[in-house]
């Protein structure tokens, strides 16, 4: 089921992607967290080269690693999958810092 609700992190990511990819066209109001992020069906019109920029910029901003075992295409499926991945990674880090 498609949900139009965008949570705080997803909203932050949307703004971050708009800035990183320098999207100057108006962004549709009804963008959903489940909409495809990359590819011909992306409402933001992003392609694989944009994906490279998003991955590297997100790694820097959130101090996470995207690659190797986790497939980039799975993580960049939608705003929701990207936000979920960041939450999982940063939570894991906070946990390991707390137990250290």
């Amino acid at each position: 089921m498609k949900s139009n609700e965008i949570d705080e992190l997803e909203k932050e990511l949307l703004e971050f992607i708009i800035e990183v990819c320098n999207i100057t066209d108006p962004v549709p109001d009804n963008i959903s967290a489940d909409d495809p992020l990359i590819g011909p069906e992306s409402p933001l019109g992003l392609d694989s080269l944009d994906a490279v920029e998003i991955v590297v910029a997100a790694e820097k901003k959130y101090d996470i690693r995207i690659g190797s075992r986790e497939t980039t295409r799975k993580i960049l499926k939608s705003l929701k999958t990207l936000a979920d991945y960041i939450r999982k990674q940063t939570k894991g880090k906070a946990k390991s810092k707390a137990t250290a």
Binding site: G39, E41, L49, E53, S68, T71, T72, R73, K74
Partner: protein, 338 residues
């Protein structure tokens, strides 16, 4: 007959089709080796720039060994007996596949992924060396464990046949394989050592034509610097975009497979009980990040949103830095397994 409901094949999603497919099929024969381990044992890491070989009209830049080599090397080094088949007649190739599937044998297939209808449009591109595993069928519908997908998928006979006989570079010609048996005990340390040695050999190769290995990276760096002047801005962007896509997409796991190789070295440190491999793994991760810097810079140039200092000279310098780092890594790596 094995159908969707009864199938017991264990499917794991992976970044790279050949390494992931090999890892999955081995797991189902009781040999549990990760995707990264298969990639390393199979000596998958590579660099090659072949300006005279064109795919989709663009020169080939590759970060991995020839399609099929990972499977061949891994099975040989782990003592797994593989039987491979090639066909001229598409119908016969499908009949041969059916016979194996009906016996409950999973079958590895090479296919052109553009013709596989379960690929979403965003991921469809002309690549004839895609690896997938047929794990069952119900009449004309085949159950497929495609390593780059989260769950097994289905494909109709006519579509699978078309994909198995797609034309162009690396044409699959109906190629398929299955496991025939395992010779004795799997010797993982020996297999890992052999894989590392082969990678070092290729990457430090001193061929008269410097198109592969570290020398290939240096040659590529020189050519990249010349692209805007030689081909003009538009064509240079096309060439650059192609190199970046080969590096960051096509199942590389990021950084042109360097990050996957770093994961392999981490596992190798345990298997060989050599702590120095952990340090080399970290250096390989840094190199993967450097390759990503090249991709990032290049993507900004292609997209016309360059920042100060984003130009082809700088791109070339980043590549030379990658080459220098990798030269040190393979020399040290070679010493650890001498």
């Amino acid at each position: 007959m094995r159908d969707n409901e009864k199938n017991s094949f264990i499917h794991r999603q992976s970044a790279h089709c050949e390494s992931g497919g090999t890892s999955n099929i081995l797991l189902n024969y009781g040999v549990d080796v990760s995707e990264a381990l298969v990639f390393g044992i199979g000596a998958g890491l590579f660099f090659g720039f072949f300006p005279f070989i064109k795919m989709n009209g663009l020169p080939v830049v590759t970060f991995r060994n020839m399609p099929g080599r990972i499977l061949k090397n891994t099975s040989k080094r782990l003592g797994i007996k593989i039987e491979s088949y090639k066909f001229k007649n598409p119908e016969k190739s499908m009949d041969a596949l059916d016979i194996l599937l009906d016996k409950g044998i999973p079958v590895g297939l090479q296919a052109g992924c553009y013709w596989l209808p379960y690929f979403p449009d965003a991921l469809r591109f002309h690549f004839n060396a895609h690896t997938l595993i047929a794990i069952g069928r119900k009449g004309d519908e085949y159950l497929i464990s495609d390593p780059v997908f989260e769950e097994p998928v289905t494909c109709l006979r006519k579509d699978l046949m078309k994909a198995r006989f797609s034309e162009g570079p690396f044409s699959p010609k109906g190629k398929m394989y299955c496991i025939k048996g395992i010779k004795g005990q799997v010797d993982l340390p020996r297999a890992v050592t052999k894989g590392i040695r082969e990678t070092c050999w290729f990457m430090l190769a001193k061929n008269p034509i410097p198109l592969i290995g570290v020398r290939g990276i240096r040659y590529f760096a020189k050519r990249v610097q010349e692209w805007p002047e030689k081909y003009g801005k538009r064509r240079a962007s096309l060439l650059l975009g192609n190199a970046i896509r080969m590096q960051e997409e096509v199942g590389t796991g990021g950084g042109g497979f360097r990050l996957m190789y770093a994961a392999f070295l981490q596992e190798a440190a345990d298997i060989l009980n050599k702590k120095e491999l952990l340090d080399i793994s970290e250096r390989m991760t840094e190199t993967g990040d450097k390759w990503r810097e090249f991709a990032l810079l290049g993507a900004r140039i292609c997209k016309d949103r360059s920042l100060d200092g984003d130009n082809y000279d700088n791109l070339s310098n980043v590549l030379l830095d990658c080459a220098a780092k990798e030269y040190g890594i393979y020399n040290d790596l070679r010493e650890t397994v001498r």
